[in-house]
Symmetry: C2
Subunit: 229 residues, 2 copies
């Protein structure tokens, strides 16, 4: 499926100095692109800006990447791996709520690291058939993970919710996680990325609160208070 990306490969298949250098340059481009995309929005970052930031010529950048779309797709690859986390699912009630907390926390961190994807979902993902399908699959996995965590909570008596409610709850949790950063930016209240992330975690966790029972609910409240200071 994936073809060789570098032209100079037929002669020597060993990883010589040049190949290493190539890989390093590609990585630098990806890292710099991610930083600029996150800061300015993908559409407002030109290939020239990326090259400039690396003291590199535009031509050289295009030696390593066919086009701008390829940079985006490779960043999406990395995000896809980064976000593919199997949640821990311990049986005990006291830990189940922390499992949920941990999982959502990891998701929000990953979203923050690759927020250019979420800042403009429509342009980055919505218009690219391949990415749209892959993104939908990521969302499905996330929903599945959240549902499993909720079922674990229900099993231990810490949560009270019917399957249909859990499904809707999981959807809403993903929507809020997905949209919070962009929403905060659009209303101009992000006030720093760290603050926005903490507030986002609070918003997401509060979705689950009304379904929790007994000490699980108190436990969640304390986790929230701890997190947002």
């Amino acid at each position: 499926m994936s073809k060789a990306k570098q032209p100079a490969e037929g002669a020597a298949s060993r990883l010589d100095g040049n190949a290493l250098r190539t890989q390093r340059t590609r990585s630098r481009v990806l890292a710099q692109s991610l930083a600029l995309f996150n800061e300015l929005g993908e559409a407002h970052v030109t290939t020239g800006m990326i090259a400039d930031a690396l003291d590199m010529s535009p031509g050289n950048l295009y030696y390593h990447f066919r086009n701008k779309g390829q940079i985006i797709e490779e960043l999406f690859d990395r995000f896809e791996q980064r976000v593919d986390v199997r949640p821990r699912a311990s049986g005990r009630a006291a830990e189940a709520i922390e499992d949920l907390w941990l999982y959502l926390h990891l998701m929000l961190e990953a979203i923050g690291e690759y927020r250019f994807i979420y800042r403009n979902l429509d342009d980055v993902v919505g218009r690219n058939r391949k990415l749209r399908v892959r993104f939908a699959r990521i969302v499905d996995r996330q929903a599945g993970a959240i549902v499993a965590l909720c079922e674990s909570l229900v099993g231990s008596g810490a949560m009270q919710a019917r399957p249909a409610q859990i499904a809707t709850l999981a959807q809403n949790a993903i929507i809020v996680s997905t949209s919070w950063l962009g929403f905060a930016a659009a209303t101009g209240r992000d006030g720093g990325e760290a603050a926005a992330l903490g507030q986002g975690a609070f918003q997401v966790m509060s979705l689950f609160a009304p379904y929790l029972r007994g000490e699980a609910r108190a436990h969640l409240d304390s986790l929230i208070l701890e997190y947002i200071d």
Copy 2:
């Protein structure tokens, strides 16, 4: 604050035939722009496409509007008026839940009509200082309206929630309302605008369900079932 927009005004201040025609042309441009923005996304609609769709020359379009940004701002004006709805707030419990339902429904409709704003919040609103402030004010009003409706529900015993919970709930309701359409499009499951809107209403209303008590909750469930068929 707002200067005269048409040059031919010093001579005759009465509304003669030309002035009427001008206004009509401006309206046609705005309507066509809205349709195209909603369909393709603001960034992907050129002034030439708008002119073409109206069998009009680009030059003529620029006679009526200084630039593309002005079209966007005037559409935002219309949206701002469209969305500025004071919710009804009746005292009785049975009606209070319908007041909330009605208000959210109206919001979702308005968002659907001007979905190009929400489809790409960052580009349309986030980068324009004036629009960003105005959008934040709209969100504040919406939050205030939802909070008031919830307080009314609490007062009549139909809802059980503390003020802090209500504030967070209102925020989440706005985030889901705001983001649902874009999210559905990005995951490729919108399956028609009407369906997406109904599903969005369902997602939003389900946020309130766990805080409702007694027959109010049953009432909401029936409203939801009715709405999504």
